[in-house]
Amino acid sequence: MTATMRPSPSACPACAAAPAAEALAERALKPTQIALSLPTIHCSACISKIERGLNAHPGVRSARVNLTLKRASIDAAPEVSAEELRALVEGLGFEAHELDGASLGATATDRAGRDLLMRLAVAGFASMNVMLLSVSVWSGAEDATRDMFHWISAAITLPAIAFSGQPFFRNAWAALSKGRLNMDVPITLAIVLAIFTSLWETVLSGEHAYFDAALALTFFLLAGRYLDHRTRAIARSAAEELTALEVPRATRLRDGVEEQVNIAELRVGDLILVRPGGRMPVDGEIVNGTSELDRSLLTGETLPVFAGEGQVVSAGEVNLTGPLTIRATAVGADTSLHRMADLVAIAESGRSRYTSLADKAAKLYAPGVHILSALSFVGWYLYTWDMRTALNIAAAVLIITCPCALGLAVPAVTTAASGRLFRRGMLIKHETALERLAQVDTVVFDKTGTLTTGTPQLTNLAGLPRAAVECALALAEGSSHPLARAITAAARDAGFAASELSDVTEVPGYGTRALLNGQEVRLGRASWTGAAPLAETASFLKIGDQAPVAFVFADNLRPGAAEAVEALKSSGKTVILMSGDTTPAVEAQATRLGIPQWMAEALPADKSARIQALSSEGAHVLMVGDGLNDTAALAAAHVSISPATALDAARVASDIVLLGNDLAPIATACETAQSATRRIRENFRIATIYNVIAVPLAVAGLATPLIAALAMSLSSITVSLNALRLR
């Protein structure tokens, strides 16, 4: 049953498109739909290769690759798993990731976008036809011919405006019913008044009808709305794809049998197996196994903590060495991860509401236009005592001052700037993020996971005895613990060979031990090797009865971190480092990057309090962070950026998402934002200049529909061209 079979309340064919889109969305949400993200596809050969490969699979009913979204949507039999198809595509030589259908559902069809596009098309079609008729009127059609042309124009304009103008009428009504004014009120008033006076003129065989102006106005404004909508839809769809990449699945143990389930199906009391490298899906208590936990996303600490039976774990922590079985104590919205949302809500309520440039302009502009138009109506009525002349002039004033260029001024610039930044790997999520980014004078960085990659690097290799390094290499080779991997990489690069060991065993949660010439050697935690713990991240090697040797680690810097900090400092911004990590670790990174101000061992509340303090001193703070402990700070800051590797909660709280691994685009983004804001202001000025020239003509009663059409088109085109100059 298709949607078009349902009775449609609207008479026009275009209105019937909306339910059709709805039906499409329903179809896209069917459970057997599998979506894969294919970030590396780029040509027609890729498309046909992947489609042929997928269609050859017996369980696949149909597969279609979308090159624009770099995504494949597959209609498959229920028994086919996404993992199977992902492996199939990887086998064809393309990178593929599974996407979570539920978080993706909303982007399947962009209903509002289609709706706007349809209205834009109708307005465009109608304005072209009416413009043709108007040109013949302006070039001298008279009497009956002119009247006929006016009547035909009216017949086209009335239904076209009734359909296309709805977004403005609805917004204007919403604002008026709350007793406020917005940009849509003068627009609606101008359109309605123009049509009303034009009809009146047509009935009386008058000379001036503004049908073409009313339609051109609707068309230009809808074009602005559509650009605006598209920019936001692209950002939203990319943000949703990031979320969809983390397929929420967990391994549940039921009567000793493992099963893969969706996180939403987990209940309190369920036993869940978390393998090394996996993230805790829920809050819980460890019932079996020992391991180490990486809690850096939650606290900013880089030092792994020991995890043993009976210990409490929180959702979001990463299991490092041994498999753990946990009993769920809180699931879904009750987990500590979600409770953090309360902190964010508090921070957001404290955030000073930013008024966008467009809103500021509208606040000045809307009352001004109404007063001007009313004054010219009253003035002309008192002067001539003729209702028709006065109303005509009032309508002309409204049409000429109507914010055609103003409606395009902001969307044209933000579309150009967002597109430019998107190509450099930045996703602008919030509509006013660019304007706020332009004002930034203080930049606060989080350390772990933001300035650093979160993967450790061995720092004291040169000062270690050769025998110790060779022994440690042999022990570390077999382990997948991040510290062991760092030792392996550093020792191999320096050309060390592993010494001969026997009986190498990994003790999850503690380290690795083996026998060297009959002596026991251990590499692992301080307590397990009998060493005194250090403040930095360190691993210890104990050979026999000798004193333990410390291997000290520092976090790897993210590529572009040094450049970004340097560029921000040289453009005169204050750079601050704020981390939940220990003082020596934070101090070391701060000196390495040349950041004079830093703050260590900061709790989430400390971070957001510090940012609020900075803001109350008048600073415009840009917060760059990735962890759960940064979420409140991200929400409290004037504008915020988080990397794509950040936790979902942090990405939601931030205005801009950094898609690549590189931090360098942050500095250039600030410059782009500043030039974008400059262009917006320029656009407002251009629009004002056109008004300053045309308004006196309108008030003096000299405006003709030709002048109105010229002023409107010229200002809109100049404004759009000016937006494209953006570098």
Binding site: T68, R114, L117, N129, I152
Partner: protein, 52 residues
């Protein structure tokens, strides 16, 4: 001026055809993947017989 009796309806009909064609393209999802579609046309996969 009698020519107007033909020309005006013709121009309106032509414009209407354009509008209907546009509405058809939007409703049949032809703007979902502009980049892919511009390349699919270069593929010779379904040259001999149409895609079933």
């Amino acid at each position: 001026m009698n020519i107007l009796t033909y020309l005006i309806p013709i121009s309106l009909v032509l414009g209407g055809v354009g509008l209907v064609a546009f509405i058809y393209t939007v409703r049949s999802n032809q703007y979902d993947d502009p980049e892919g579609d511009s390349r699919r046309i270069l593929s010779d996969e379904w040259d001999d017989h149409p895609k079933p």
